[in-house]
């Protein structure tokens, strides 16, 4: 019979708590900046000049077809090769923002593309400017339409942030690794961390599903 020692891991709850806080902070920043970037890219792909469409298209395809860990390593290990050194935290946030931005761009673009033409015509007829038509009439219902997909993507990025521990960002998986290196309880450490991630994912989904209608798209 295998002897598990969960108390040894749970005793390190301050470390775990710090890890959770860092994970949540990373996610919060990446989600807000990433979704904003995604909206801007979606707009660019639909209304921008040809060269802008091409750049955004290339960015989206590049990010979506390469692993997040490679994107992170490129920023943290690769950029120093040309003289740009980023801290682990900066590299992590940047990687997460760039990553989420690309996925959000596609998701939001799909939402915007299904806007009924009559809505845009009515807004134009009321003399709203192009930017006003986009932000006040097109975007809120579009975000509402794609909110489940957007929320899922934010959670995916949050779970993906576990990789950031590999470049010593002090988030949850890093904390788990630290704990198991001290008490050699690898399995228990990772089980606890995994369950915490699960709880975070469920809580985050609830939070975002509540916050969306409340703050972003009404009703």
């Amino acid at each position: 019979m295998i002897a598990f020692d969960f108390p040894a891991v749970l005793a390190e709850w301050p470390l775990l708590a710090k890890g959770v806080a860092a994970t949540l902070a990373l996610t919060a920043v990446s989600a807000s900046v990433g979704v904003t970037l995604g909206v801007a890219c979606a707009w660019a792909r639909l209304h921008g000049a040809v060269w802008l469409k091409a750049i955004v298209g290339a960015y989206v395809e590049l990010i979506r077809n390469t692993p997040f860990i490679v994107q992170l390593f490129f920023l943290f290990f690769g950029l120093p090769g040309i003289g740009v050194r980023l801290s682990p935290e900066t590299a992590s946030v940047l990687a997460m923002v760039v990553n989420l931005g690309a996925y959000a761009a596609e998701i939001v673009r799909a939402g915007i593309a299904t806007t009924p033409k009559g809505q845009i015509e009515a807004a134009q007829s009321l003399a709203l400017s192009e930017m006003q038509v986009f932000t006040r009439v097109v975007l809120p219902p579009a975000l509402k339409r794609v909110w489940p997909a957007l929320v899922s993507q934010i959670i995916i990025v949050m779970l993906g942030s576990a990789v950031c521990g590999q470049i010593s960002t002090p988030e949850l998986s890093y904390a788990a690794n630290l704990i198991q290196s001290r008490n050699f309880r690898a399995f228990e450490s990772f089980i606890v961390a995994t369950l915490i991630y699960l709880a975070l994912a469920m809580a985050l989904r609830r939070l975002l599903n509540w916050a969306g209608p409340r703050f972003i798209f009404g009703k």
């Binding site: 009924p116 009559g118 809505q119 015509e121 009515a122 807004a123 134009q124 007829s125 009321l126 003399a127 709203l128 400017s129 192009e130 006003q132 006040r136 009439v137 809120p140 219902p141 509402k144 798209f217 009404g218 009703k219």
Partner: protein, 253 residues
């Protein structure tokens, strides 16, 4: 044979030689029309005659290929976003499909454009919105959501929304065609009251008795051209062209 009146330079809407193509299909084949301030014009004709396209050219939702169009002395400049914006503050439109903004309450639907475009203060726009909703008989629906309203109510909100911009001309594109028959009357009553108050109206409509009752002039369009123009009694009582005769008999069946 077209019997267009010679354009009066002081008309609020002046259209000369307007042509519009969709690909190789020429939908408007040279339209001349002059609309006086305060006039109520009903545009009638078969589907496909270009009525809606003409209306949509007037507020720039469709781009015409040849000819000139000016509203209140200002020619339409499609490429100029500012000019188009100014135009649309003078010309309002009501759509067949209402097109209320689903994520905003009724009151906010009416308030959106004055707030953003005319940059009015909140209390002014709220008061104005309440007044306009009362005018169309929906004062109590200020906080309701569009999907809670019937079609007729939604269309009346759409009218209030357009009026909030204080336009000089109102374009009505088959505004009752999507309504259940029993809801048509409430919308037409609002339009009639607007006409009585002196609003310049251009309506594309299939409601013939309404058009007869309310319009100063009727414009009959067929295959992209204006075939006959004149007061209702003239067009209904003494149709000159074969196409109009045929149209009138088909709607009387």
């Amino acid at each position: 044979m077209a019997t267009a009146e010679s354009p009066i330079p002081t008309g609020i809407v002046e259209i000369q030689g307007l042509r519009k193509r969709f690909g190789t299909n020429e939908v408007l084949k040279g339209i001349d029309l002059s609309v006086k301030r305060g006039e109520v014009i009903a545009i009638i004709g078969k589907s496909g005659s270009g009525k809606s396209t003409l209306l949509r050219c007037i507020n720039g939702l469709e781009v015409f290929n040849e000819g000139t169009l000016s509203v209140d002395g200002n020619p339409l400049l499609h490429g100029n976003a500012n000019a188009m914006r100014t135009l649309r503050q003078h010309v309002g439109m009501i759509f067949q499909g209402f097109n209320l903004f689903p994520h905003l309450s009724v009151g906010r639907n009416v308030m959106l454009a004055p707030t953003l475009v005319k940059k009015r203060h909140a209390d002014q726009t709220v008061a104005q919105a309440k007044k306009l909703l009362a005018r169309v008989g929906l004062a109590e629906k200020f906080d309701a959501q569009p999907d809670q309203l019937s079609g007729g109510q939604q269309q009346r909100v759409a009218i209030a929304r357009a009026l909030a911009m204080e336009p000089a001309v109102l374009l009505c594109d088959e505004i009752t065609s999507a309504l259940d028959p029993e809801l048509v009357g409430e919308v037409l009553r609002v339009v009639e009251s607007l006409a009585e108050e002196g609003m310049t109206l251009l309506m594309v409509t299939h409601e013939m008795s309404f058009a007869r009752k309310v319009s100063d002039r009727l414009v009959f369009m067929h295959a992209g051209r204006i075939h006959e123009v004149g007061p209702p009694e003239q067009l209904f009582g003494a149709p000159q062209t074969a196409e109009l005769k045929q149209f009138l008999s088909s709607i009387n069946d």
